[in-house]
């Protein structure tokens, strides 16, 4: 089972991100579970959402305590205590940041400018689709095509296409950065 924990702020689409991930996994014939850390938070407050992916039915209902990957939708959350709790030493961390070298205390970090890409393609500061594109590249967990289908199912018409384009661009960016890391290490 692969477990992902998404950290964001209310209004940034952290909940949708988990949903889309789960739908993409479903499209690939996997079992997936997605749910938010429910609250009455208004826009701007820190929120979490979770996604589990497995080849067999998922019975576990607790929040993701031992993530294999973290997606951090807002770099201002990095200082939050407990943000990285439970992450395995070699776990993946994907951060929405314009600074590819942004400091990250644990795990394998990848930073992509998801908000900027979202502004370019979607014209709204909703970084979730872009981050998912980068995540697909970073984790190899899902095919980009599945992600596109999931995005289009959630956002019909032009909005879906724009989000898919953002995801593609972020995927490209991630590949480039990972290539750069690989050659640097």
């Amino acid at each position: 089972m692969f477990q992902i924990r998404i950290h964001g702020r209310g209004g940034q689409g952290a909940v949708s991100a988990a949903e889309i991930l789960s739908v993409a996994a479903f499209i690939e014939g996997k079992y997936a579970q997605a749910f938010p850390s429910f609250g009455s938070e208004r826009n701007g407050a820190p929120v979490m959402s979770f996604c589990r992916v497995d080849d067999k039915p998922i019975r576990l209902r607790e929040p993701v305590m031992q993530p294999d990957a973290l997606i951090i939708q807002d770099p201002t959350l990095l200082h939050l205590p407990g943000l990285f709790e439970g992450l395995a030493p070699e776990g993946l961390v994907l951060i929405n940041s314009t600074n590819p070298q942004i400091e990250c205390p644990v795990g394998n970090r990848l930073a992509v400018p998801a908000t900027e890409l979202a502004m370019k393609y979607v014209r709204r500061p909703l970084p979730n689709a872009a981050l998912l594109g980068a995540f697909a590249a970073q984790s190899g967990l899902l095919h980009l095509e599945s992600l596109f289908s999931a995005i289009r199912a959630k956002f019909p018409g032009e909005v879906g296409e724009a989000n898919a384009a953002a995801a593609q661009a972020a995927w490209d960016c991630a590949q480039e950065l990972m290539g750069a890391y690989a050659s640097a290490n």
Binding site: A18, E19, S22, V23, A25, F26, I27, Y31, A32, Q33, A34, F35, P36, F38, S40, P57, I58, R59, L60, R61, E62, P63, M65
Partner: protein
């Protein structure tokens, strides 16, 4: 068709397939997505032959359903927590009048203090209202139980509430197989009311019954629960035959063969419990679990059979009788009268408090080692409690 959808959506789709004729709704977290989904389906013309009414309170919601059901229309509503309490007068009225209304409860804690998260205090508060109460363990089961509920309700002329954990199930995306309209039409016949309001065959529904007959009316309601006890497994089996999967029934065992410890719980927490069961079994502990689906009628004989051979029965409950302990535990203890198992209660998850594998495992290990107290509150923040001025010298008055 297999879909990856939100639990609420799965329920809305299943309810729509049952061809409801009147849906009345008042929003309350965490049920909102269900009724929004149904409202949209009606307005967009996907769900035809259905009146969707936005009412001014939960009391009005169930009352509208009472009127429409008495007039022969298949009726549905949904609520939770405070809303269920607000309509409690109507809840008793619906079962007393024998109206086969189906209602979803998105289980949520009752205030004060106000809390929008999951526990079972709401449906527990009306456990003796005469309604049938079924609990879903997964979103698939939540969807399926609604289809079974309409058939059960209409056969017995009794309302049914389908309980699903608020947020944990209602707001979780997971894989659900949503049946086709043809499948449901073949399985769920049109509503044939036992009695209804009809100017061409007039009758008075809702008379005043005095002391000379009230006992008998209530005795018949009592008997009705036993009829339900017989029908629920039959309907579940019939559903499995038609739709190709297990869901519903009275209670389901998991690795109960030869188990010395049996854990009993309602709803979604059973998933987490089963993970712990597997871990512990791997470590050689003879432990299993029972997921109770029918809470009303309470399947006394069935549970006796399932639990009789255990040394320890551990009841994990998301509700509390203050000053007493567990609610379900008391019913289980009564059911096990004269049998060997000792029953311990774990109060967990109140107000949506996370129930972790880790905490459950620790508690079940204690049961295995014979040191689980009769009543435990899982993951209690001892420091927060010790701050309370009523507690002197750190000594707790209760266990």
């Amino acid at each position: 068709m297999l879909q990856q959808i939100e639990g609420s959506r799965a329920v809305a789709e299943s309810v729509a397939l049952c061809r409801p004729e009147v849906i009345c709704a008042y929003p309350i977290t965490p049920q909102t997505h269900i009724v929004e989904g149904l409202g949209e389906m009606v307005k967009a013309g996907r769900l035809k032959g259905c009146e969707f009414i936005n009412v001014e309170s939960e009391f009005a919601a169930l009352s509208v359903a009472i009127g429409s059901s008495a007039a022969g229309a298949r009726s549905y509503t949904a609520t939770a927590s405070q809303g269920l309490l607000y309509m409690t007068e109507a809840v008793y009225n619906a079962s007393g009048l024998g109206l086969p209304i189906v209602m979803t409860i998105g289980n949520r804690a009752i205030g004060a203090p106000i809390n929008i998260w999951n526990d079972h205090s709401d449906s527990m508060s009306v456990r003796d209202s005469g309604w049938l109460q079924l609990h879903a363990e997964t979103n698939q089961e939540a969807a399926d139980l609604h289809i079974q509920a309409f058939r059960l309700a209409e056969e017995l002329s009794l309302p049914v509430m389908v309980c699903m954990d608020g947020f944990i199930l209602t707001h979780a995306y997971e894989r659900v197989d949503v049946p086709t309209q043809e499948q449901v039409d073949a399985w769920l016949p049109p509503f044939q009311p036992r009695q209804m309001l009809d100017p061409s065959a007039p009758l008075s529904i809702g008379s005043m019954v005095g002391p000379e007959t009230f006992m008998e009316v209530r005795y018949l309601a009592h008997q009705k629960q036993f009829q339900a006890l017989a029908r629920i497994p039959e309907i579940s089996r019939d559903f499995a035959r038609a739709f190709g999967r297990e869901s519903g029934g009275l209670a389901r065992g998991y690795r109960t063969e030869g188990a010395e410890i049996l854990v009993v719980a309602l709803g979604s927490v059973n998933g987490t419990i089963q993970e712990v069961i597997d871990e512990m079994q791997e470590a050689g502990v003879p432990i299993g679990s029972v997921s109770l689906c029918s809470y009303r009628p309470f399947p006394v004989d069935h549970l006796r059979t399932m639990l009789a051979h255990a040394r320890h029965v551990v009841v994990v409950e998301k509700c509390l009788a203050p000053g007493q302990g567990g609610i379900m535990s008391m019913e289980i203890q009564t059911a096990l009268t004269g049998l060997a198992p000792n029953v311990a209660t774990i109060i967990a998850g109140l107000g949506g408090r996370t129930i972790t594998r880790k905490a459950l495992r620790a508690a079940f290990e204690r049961a295995h080692n014979g040191i689980l107290p009769p009543l435990t509150f899982l993951d209690l923040n001892e420091k927060a409690i010790a701050r309370e001025p009523e507690i002197t010298s750190g000594e707790l008055l209760c266990r």
